[in-house]
Amino acid sequence: MRAHPIRRRAAAAFTAVALAVIASVGAATGAGASPARINGQGSSYVALAMQQWVADAQTSGLQVNYLPTGSPGGLTAFGQSLADFAGTEAEFSALSSQGVGDTRGYQYVPSVAGAVAVMYNVQDTAGRKVDYLHLSRRTIARIFTGDITTWSDPAISADNKGLVLPDQPINVVYRGGQSGTTGLFYDFVANVAPDVFGPWAQRNSFPTSVRIIQLDSSPGFVPKSQAFQGSDQIAQFIGGGQGLWSIGYDEFGYAKTYDVPAAWVQNAAGESVLPYAENISAALESAALRPDLSQELSGVYNSTNPIAYPISAYSYIVTQCAVSADRPTCRGAYSNPGITETLTSWLRYIACEGQVNMARIGYSPLPPNLSQEVANSIARLTGAAPEQLTQANCANPRFGGSVGDGGAPPVDPIKNIDAIGSGSGTGETAAGGTGSVGGKGTTSSGGGSTDWRRVAPVAYVGPSIASSNGIAVLALLLVMAVPLVVGGILARRRRNGTPG
């Protein structure tokens, strides 16, 4: 009997809570098109751009999350409905995920253009850091298939006007696990040097019909190699002291973020270029887009445009769509209309405002026709007529004919030099031409900046541990001391409080 009032009260409380829950659920579902939180994962190639897009989405009140787990993982998660959207450079079939997305239905929405940079950490024989390394496409392919194993290889000298590097083994840094960047890079390798690639792939029993997305299943693919799990770690390692004599492939944005030198790659026109926005967009003019917007890149790898950077590719956002292949419309594909609402507003932002800053952080904005394709994809999701994007309603700098700030490439520091000495002896540079390459900076003859690596403003500055060391340690100690001090005070009070 005694329990009754309590029980009654408890019951009342329970009913109140239940009602509140029902009410809130009702509010969530009843409001219909109020934006819902969307989660995506996939490509780390696009992760730096995503960082900005997600941050901008948050400030404008859209709840967007993105996890750079790698393209293959993103596509799998999307196929299993664990993610609302995925980021990828390659279509499902190229990443051996054939059929993964079929049950769900999908469309490829282009998001940005990017490039894979070849990062390195090398010194010349005098011990000076080399930051002007040039590599031909074939040399790159031979290095990453274990055909060139030392830095003193004549092929590298030939690419660098006779510069002879020390006789050190090349340490190839690669992504562990499954990665779309690995897939893209080795697709490039397979395309530019099939005679080297074929036997190498066979020796390591790598697949040749789809892209190679995982190298560590055969860790001996080059004599000396080292795996890292993420783009950040690769850039950090190569840039750091332990990364000396290393070379690796990574998204260009990370080279900027961590200030790691990226190799000048010689394209099919014989010109050496870095992956700046103008070079990426020039290369992607040769990309062949299939009807579903996915890309065929062999034209890019072999582009004869003199300013084209050959390892460029578009990145895509994969969203849900009708299951049928011809996709007249994707309307109502997401069961929660709030997801469609968030996704479409966000995609509209990516198509235009989202492109403004891309050149600065190592990407290249979408060309107008692909921005328009984003608008068409939005129309497919909403079922409305597609919005026509023009310079008036879209901030994408490509509509105005430029790629935005930071997109112009620097001047090749060794272009007008006849030969580079190996820097032996006194350490003075033997430069027999109009310019010189030496220990302290470079001079260029083209009238550009004197320091080509400072040409483009770096958007993100890598965290410097050293500068704020003292304050950080102090803060940490303070935080750690709080529980101890509080505990001590409590203990003393308790001691004083107890009699005796």
Binding site: Q41, A77, G176, G177, D216, K224, L484
Partner: protein, 340 residues
């Protein structure tokens, strides 16, 4: 005894005369609240067991695809992990070697440190400092393992290189310390083990501390009274008394180290060690089951199934280690009152 005493409780039927007060039968009629409480606590206890079984069953079901395609024996004895060839060939042995090696390195570093730490706390410090020290050591357990990993990757790796270099140059004749020519010494099992050692330090310290603090004061005083120094007393009384606790605590730490994930996922390249290769703990390389799973989780369905199978193996090994540890502690003289 006259039988007139009314205060006497009702005696059980036919007590033997002269036997005095026999044992009273206590009949307990638990109240509703008691019964509820009993049911709730029992339910909580059983639910832990059920949860454990469900986890095991889940892993078994999820891994069945990979195991049936590979064959249980081949899965356990192979080292390569290839899902990009047909038929896929996956084996857990390369991961297991790495896991065990990291855990062993961690325990080798952590046990002496923890034992001395526990001795300092129980035997050498004043009551007030004891509280401080316990708090500080426990604080170490509160640091997220991701932070340990980042710290190890960004800071400790570089600082450990000279030690690794020295070990390989001077003790290279010991097979484990051998390194290949020109090998990179970052991201090694050795460095990962040292970082994990810091993470298992609190658990080993707290178990050994608990055990040491239960050393009978009489025995300690006897040792001191016989003229022993404090260190002599520790050696002859505290350490022998606490041996079971040290072993058990170490094994418990081993169990922890086996399952440590994020830090090793960051520190090791997570490329499985191949069986033909000799083991190089000082040079770049190695993978652990949990770190491998963490890095590969976003992969195709078959890979995930294989990862589940690897997880199942780790689950069984960790469970066995922890159970052996608790048995060792409970059976030792010192550990009788210690709950693990």
């Amino acid at each position: 005894m006259s039988g007139i005493d009314l205060q006497d409780p009702p005696t059980p039927p036919s007590p033997a005369p002269g036997a005095g007060r026999t044992k009273r039968v206590v009949t307990e009629v638990p109240s509703v609240v008691d019964r509820r409480f009993n049911a709730i606590t029992m339910g909580a206890g059983i639910s832990v067991l059920v949860l454990l079984l469900l986890v095991g069953a889940f892993l078994l079901i999820q891994s069945s695809d990979a195991i049936s395609q590979t064959g249980i024996l081949r899965f356990l004895t192979r080292t390569e992990w290839r899902t990009d060839v047909q038929p896929p060939a996956i084996g857990v042995l390369g991961l297991l070697t790495g896991t065990v090696l990291v855990a062993v390195v961690a325990v080798l570093f952590a046990v002496p440190l923890s034992v001395f730490c526990a001795l300092a706390i129980t035997e050498y410090s004043t009551a007030r400092r004891r509280k401080w020290l316990i708090g500080v050591v426990d604080l170490l357990a509160a640091v997220p393992s991701l932070l340990f990993g980042l710290w190890g990757f960004l800071y400790l790796s570089d600082k450990m290189i000279p030690i690794s270099t020295w070990l390989s140059q001077n003790l290279g004749f010991i097979p484990f310390f051998h390194t290949e020519k020109n090998a990179s010494l970052t991201g090694s099992i050795f460095i990962a083990g040292v970082v994990v050692a810091l993470m298992v330090l609190p658990i080993i310290t707290s178990v050994t501390r608990e055990v040491f603090s239960q050393t009978p004061p009489g025995e300690k005083e006897a040792a001191l009274a016989l003229g022993g120094t404090r260190w002599g007393m520790i050696r002859s009384v505290v350490l022998p008394y606490g041996r079971g606790g040290i072993i058990g605590g170490s094994m418990l730490g081993l169990g922890r180290a086996l399952g440590e994930t994020i830090a090793v996922a960051l520190l090791l390249p997570q490329v499985p060690q191949r069986i033909g290769d000799s083991i190089h703990i000082l040079q770049n390389g190695g993978a652990t089951v949990s770190g491998f799973i963490a890095n590969r989780a976003g992969a195709d369905a078959f890979t995930v199934s294989g990862l589940m199978a690897a997880g199942l193996v780790l689950f069984i090994i960790t469970l066995a280690t922890n159970m052996i540890a608790s048995v060792v502690v409970a059976r030792s003289r010192s550990g009788a009152g210690v709950d693990l």
